[in-house]
């Protein structure tokens, strides 16, 4: 199988980027999308050209490091997958495949398809933890957590931090990411003590990082590899309102 990749090349954050086209032949339907890019990079090396920078690590959809815009969609043509889970069988021979980095003000481009998502880490840093030191925990079964609550926390906790929600959002909003983390911890009895502070600080940090507001289009939920529900956003907003009214 043969395709043409039209890929965003940008040497560094300050350089002016541009699309460049590359034909790659000898691909198979079984190959993953990233393996096709690997093949392209091997070709480039042999042609004495610099390789394209793109990110990946686990290649099984859980580390969240991969993620590019493919033909105008975050993580490619399917709903709820990561870029590394996309396979060439989703394309046809002769396709032109456009590949771009995440486009969001809060995710500046480092090189080619690699962006800086450290804004997510700073949101986590602002309060996504339970302030207990190692060695201070009570017996695990001493605080029962009903299955539905544990399941709900797990649904929200499944976020892999890839940034597709931000990249696909027309406002570059990070509310799906932020609300999922808040709800994961705030739903659990262990997280209750710091629930209000967590909500306040994480949403504050989210705004500080320059992410946009949510206009409820639901695009993020469709691209999220873990299918994190936008109900998390509603829940966070209602908690936020309650906090503002009672504080």
């Amino acid at each position: 199988m043969r395709v043409t990749f039209k890929i965003w090349r940008q040497d560094n954050p300050k350089a002016k980027g541009e699309f460049r086209s590359y034909d790659v032949d000898g691909l198979t339907k079984d190959m993953s999308f990233l393996e096709a890019l690997d093949q392209l990079n091997e070709n480039l090396v042999l042609q004495d050209e610099k390789v394209i920078a793109y990110e990946y690590d686990c290649r099984e959809g859980i580390c969240g490091q991969c993620g590019v815009f493919i033909n105008g969609r975050a993580h490619g043509p399917h709903d709820n997958i990561t870029t590394c889970q996309l396979h060439m069988r989703s394309f046809t021979d002769g396709d032109i495949i456009t590949v771009e980095p995440w486009r969001a003000k809060s995710f500046p481009i480092i090189k080619d398809l690699v962006v800086d998502r450290s804004a997510f880490d700073r949101i986590i840093e602002s309060g996504a933890y339970i302030s207990s030191k190692t060695g201070t925990a009570p017996e695990a079964n001493s605080i029962p957590i009903p299955k539905d609550i544990a399941d709900k926390a797990m649904d929200a906790a499944a976020c892999i931090g890839c940034g597709a929600c931000v990249a696909t959002c027309k406002n570059s909003s990070a509310v799906l990411f932020t609300s999922a983390k808040i709800n994961h911890l705030n739903n659990l009895p262990q997280g209750k003590a710091e629930a209000v502070r967590r909500l306040e600080q994480m949403t504050y940090q989210m705004d500080l990082e320059g992410f946009g507001n949510c206009s409820n289009t639901g695009a993020c939920e469709i691209e999220c590899p873990e299918g994190i529900s936008i109900r998390n956003i509603a829940e966070m907003n209602s908690s936020w309102l309650r906090m503002k009214l009672t504080k």
Binding site: T28, D30, M31, S32, L34, E35, Q39, N41, E42, V45, L46, K50, V51, A53, D57, C58, R59, E60, G61, I62, C63, G64, Q85, H87, R89, K111, V114, D116, R117, S118, F120, D121, I124, E125, A128, Y129, I130, S131, S132, T134, A137, P138, E139, A140, N141, I143, P144, P146, K147, A150, A153, M154, A157, A158, I160, G161, H184, L188, Q190, G191
Partner: protein, 650 residues
């Protein structure tokens, strides 16, 4: 004469490899250790700095806990965020001797299972401590907000894993590693906010700096700018994970590498049991040469899935067309008491045996079936979906096949490295002040690791053990001079790292890094994986040396050292993998026995099981690097509390 010589050597070995196992009955050893170990007052802890390389479960656990204790911490990872570390990918669960299921579990039983699972090739005291600290670890993670699976009444659920007859595995769907890692990542960022940890993402350790025989710092490459940087500290902790990417195709993340421990090895840290690498029985089969990774399907699937191949050789019928009496459930047949839950080494070897005998299935005949038909009939589709839903979803995403209606295709794949840097009871390597935690050390798993013990070991090392042993070393370091990056040893190490990179870039040959990695992978998979022979290993060593020469004369890397250059990163990691491959084969060659994952075809019983030789090989091999050669040291294993028996799962 020979005898006295032998004892002199034995004495010498003992002085080099002091395991520092404390006195007393096995259940009191850890307490006795803590009672005698030196303490440091809080005011002094602030003055002591520790470098942690790696931010996975063991690294983040170490960094956050040491920071909570008051030390000044610098933590490094090659990924863009600490949340990417490969602990994230562990699926099935984490073991703990809580005995919540009231099925006869205890610390002692868990210790025994682990020791036996490792075919009696690990240190008793370490393995006991692993089991002993497992229960408080679950308490810890629950408190940190890990949403473990729960009963309707709110208590914690358990399931079984291979090699065990009790239910002691805790899990968070098929994403246990992710949830534990996110908890430790959160705790790490809590300490970053408290300004007690400084994190350096996109930073890769290129060398260890040793001053006057003690680990005092590292040389790091900033992966965005390519700049080499120096960092000094009173101690260095390596938490850099496993090295099974030496096989190229493995369940590991693409970036996983052995470079940090290899550089440490070259600076004096002994490398223990390098050939003990685990081949996991349930990964997705390889489908093409271009494949970069083989995804793992959690071992937990073997709780309900039944493994089989067609009875008839080269059977080309579709699985659903093969009637029940023409299927060979070979694990149930060979190991009736453990069945599909036989330990990994045994399950992998049994699969290989069937595939080699011509019963393999799939397009390349390199797989076996994992079938859920009976489980779905027995428990209903909803229960199976609840237990493994995300794994089935993942399977479908990758293969395009719905495994609820047709069996999964699975195949053995390189997975975990039991081997790693040799550490004593304090998790210190043979270089004073250099520690190794998690998968990158050799300590608890012997010749084979039991499922759900990996997350456990990484966490216990990082959260509970190291923070209670490093003080014993640092208490004396407070008196010594503050480490300084202007020391000539830093200068020298940085210079050598720079030259190493320039040398790679200057070759400008005709083959890509991936080409050489594929070649290395083929040799290692063929000769140093599930079954090994003397001849094969000897040839492999010759072949890898040829490959090393070819790499250094014909590799081509484009771009420069002063920029983000992913091709260059792959190249210097592979250069180390090639050298490590030689050591792995050397280690497998010296061990004239079969034990756990190390199966030498010359040493097997009549029915094809591993033939262990305790009189001669009841030791941990620990290799010293000597100018490109390796010298073997032995830590004799003393079994004070358990008598090694023939390991049987029949």
């Amino acid at each position: 004469m020979q005898n006295s010589c032998f004892y002199r050597i034995l004495e010498l070995v003992k002085t080099i490899l002091n395991s520092k196992v404390p006195d007393g009955p096995i259940e009191h050893k850890w307490r006795n250790y803590q009672l005698k170990s030196q303490l440091i007052n809080p005011a002094n802890k602030k003055k002591l700095s520790v470098i942690v390389v790696g931010s996975g479960l063991s690294g983040a656990g170490t960094a956050s806990t040491l920071a909570e204790l008051g030390y000044d911490i610098k933590c490094f990872c090659y990924q863009d965020s600490a949340r990417r570390a490969h602990s994230v990918a562990a699926q099935g669960g984490i073991n703990a001797a809580k005995n919540y299921q009231h099925d006869g579990d205890s610390v002692y039983r868990m210790f025994y299972d682990t020791l036996k699972g490792g075919d009696f090739r690990s240190r008793e005291a370490n393995t006991y401590r692993l089991a002993e600290l497992s229960a408080p670890l679950i308490d810890h993670f629950v408190q940190q907000g890990v949403p473990f699976a729960r009963e309707y009444g709110g208590t914690l659920v358990n399931r079984s894993f291979g090699g065990v007859q009790v239910q002691r595995t805790f899990y968070a769907r098929g994403q246990t590693g992710q949830q534990l890692l996110l908890a430790s990542y959160s705790q790490l960022y809590k300490m970053i906010r408290a300004k007690k940890v400084e994190l350096f993402p996109r930073s890769e350790m290129l060398d260890l700096v040793v001053i006057d025989g003690k680990a005092k710092g590292i040389i790091v490459r900033n992966l965005v700018t390519g700049k080499l940087e120096r960092y000094a500290a009173d101690a260095v902790v390596l938490a850099t994970g496993g090295y099974s990417r030496v096989f190229r195709l493995s369940t590991l993340a693409i970036g996983c590498n052995g470079s940090a421990i290899w550089k440490a090895h070259k600076k004096g840290a002994f490398f223990a049991a390098p050939s003990f690498t685990q081949i996991h029985p349930t990964a997705l089969p390889q489908s093409s040469e271009a494949q970069s990774k083989l995804t793992l399907m959690s071992e937990s699937l073997r709780n309900d899935g039944r493994i089989w191949v067609p009875l008839k050789k080269d059977d080309t019928r579709k699985p659903l067309d093969i009637p029940e009496d023409e299927r060979d459930y070979y694990l149930e047949r060979r190991y009736p008491s453990f069945g599909n839950l036989a330990p990994r080494d045994i399950a992998s070897r049994a699969a290989k045996e069937r595939i080699d005998a011509g019963h393999g299935v799939g397009r390349l005949k390199n797989a076996v079936y994992l079938d859920f038909k009976d489980a779905i009939e027995k428990f209903g589709l909803d229960t199976i979906k609840d237990r493994y839903g995300n794994l089935f979803k993942m399977y479908k995403k990758i293969t395009g096949i719905d495994a609820y209606s047709t069996p999964m295709l699975i195949s053995p794949t390189a997975h975990f490295s039991m081997g790693g840097l040799w550490v004593d009871y304090e998790l210190m390597t043979t270089v004073p002040g250099l520690y190794a935690v998690g998968e990158c050390n050799f300590s608890d798993h012997g010749a084979n690791r039991l499922g759900a013990n990996s997350l456990l070991q990484a966490s216990v090392d990082g959260y509970f053990i190291l923070p209670n042993t490093i003080n014993n070393y640092l208490a004396d370091e407070i008196k010594s001079e503050q480490p300084n990056i202007d020391h000539p040893e830093f200068e020298k190490a940085e210079q050598l790292a720079r030259e190493h990179i320039s040398k790679i870039l200057a070759i400008n040959g005709s083959k890509t890094v991936d080409h050489f990695h594929r070649e290395l992978g083929k040799i290692m998979w063929q000769e140093c994986a599930m079954s090994r022979t003397r001849n094969g290993l000897q040839n492999a060593i010759t072949e890898i040396k040829k490959l090393r020469d070819a790499f250094w004369s014909d590799v081509k890397v484009t771009g420069s050292e002063n920029e983000m250059n992913t091709e260059l990163e792959k190249a210097y990691r592979l250069a180390d993998f090639i050298e490590l491959g030689i050591l792995m084969c050397t280690d497998a060659l010296q061990r004239d026995e079969s034990c756990g994952a190390h199966f030498r075809e010359e040493f097997q019983t009549n029915d094809g099981e591993a033939l262990r030789k305790d009189e001669a090989y009841s030791y941990v091999s620990a290799w010293e690097y000597q100018n490109g050669d390796f010298k073997l040291h032995k830590e004799e294993l003393e079994f004070e509390f358990v008598k090694p028996t023939v390991r049987s799962y029949k």
